[in-house]
């Protein structure tokens, strides 16, 4: 059984989380929680740890249905990028699948990619 399957998925209002084997997390809805790290930080760390444990070469984060996140939540992705960067060059590459539909995604993820160059990349779904 994959380590990803054993991760407990938190319940967060307005947000959907779906782990899709072998190497994908799909997020949908929105995150407006004032302290998202408290409810999602542990979950995303667990996903990262599982990806490392499984020796994955890439992990895909699909945010094409993620309509909005607040600035505090952008830090969740930054933290994740930081974890991936810390594993380099022996870890996995985080591929973020984005959409042009939502304005916030382009600027946020481009900046994150620049800060974790070589470890995080963006793919456009449309």
């Amino acid at each position: 059984m994959s380590s990803l399957q054993s991760i407990s998925i938190p319940t967060v209002d307005s947000l959907t989380l779906d782990i899709q084997l072998p190497n994908r997390l799909k997020m949908g809805g929105r995150i407006t929680h004032q302290e998202p790290g408290k409810v999602l930080g542990g979950f995303l760390k667990a996903v990262h740890d599982a990806a490392v444990r499984e020796s994955l070469s890439t992990f895909e984060l699909d945010v094409t249905e993620l309509k909005f996140v607040n600035s505090s939540s952008i830090r969740l992705f930054l933290d994740w990028a930081g974890l991936v960067k810390a594993q380099a060059p022996n870890g996995y590459k985080l591929c973020i699948l984005t959409t042009r539909k939502f304005t916030w995604q382009k600027t946020s993820f481009v900046a994150i990619t620049a800060l974790a160059a070589g470890c995080v990349e963006i793919r456009m779904a449309d």
Partner: protein, 197 residues
């Protein structure tokens, strides 16, 4: 340019107040010409409409509801990309007001429209140290929206600085591409973001 500002509703005093530039710690910033010269209120023309006026308590847990409300409202009234920008501005400015506002005073969020502009305005009271921090940060944002945005992200990534402090405002300027203005009168601060329709 207070003479060009049009007093509006209950915000007369604030609307007419002169944009304040607090002393900066950096001499190079002092030397830079003041950029806050054309307040959004002046762009709205002689008869702006108040589309939304909401008062809430500082610290209130209403952000999720507010996002739902602003998304529905803006999507129903503006073009899609304008709606997203206005929603980002409304959410982040309100979050900022709720986070830093003095508990004894209300946080007010307004959406104003006139000519070809929409203004998101958040008014709250806070302590002078916060006002000084806000003013300094807005100076940085106005000088370089993208640079400040990336710098705030870098601070988060490295754990430096105060997490959660100012990325929201940088986001409004860079991500939504809006100009941000502030006006200070005593402990009352007004932050406005200006969006072309």
């Amino acid at each position: 340019m207070p003479g060009a500002s049009k007093p509006l509703g209950t915000q007369n005093t604030l609307a007419a107040a002169k944009p304040t530039r607090l002393p900066s710690a950096s001499s190079s910033e002092d030397a830079r010409p003041a950029r806050r010269v054309a307040r959004p209120i002046a762009r709205l023309g002689p008869s702006p409409s108040t589309l939304i006026h909401i008062e809430c308590n500082s610290g209130a847990d209403i952000l999720d509801y507010a996002h739902t409300f602003f998304t529905a409202y803006t999507e129903g009234h503006f073009r899609p990309h304008v709606a997203q920008k206005v929603t980002i501005a409304a959410f982040e400015l309100l979050a900022n007001g709720l986070r830093y506002g003095t508990m004894s005073d209300k946080v007010v969020i307004e959406l104003l429209q006139g000519n070809s502009w929409i203004v998101v305005r958040v008014t709250n009271s806070t302590i002078m140290a916060r006002i000084a921090m806000l003013t300094e940060h807005l100076d940085k944002i106005q000088a370089s929206p993208e640079g400040t945005y990336v710098e705030e992200m870098r601070k988060s990534l490295t754990g430096a600085g105060q997490r959660g402090a100012m990325l929201g405002l940088a986001r409004v300027a860079h991500e939504a591409g809006l100009e941000i203005f502030s006006t200070v009168e005593g402990s009352r601060v007004v932050v406005e973001a200006c969006c072309p329709t």
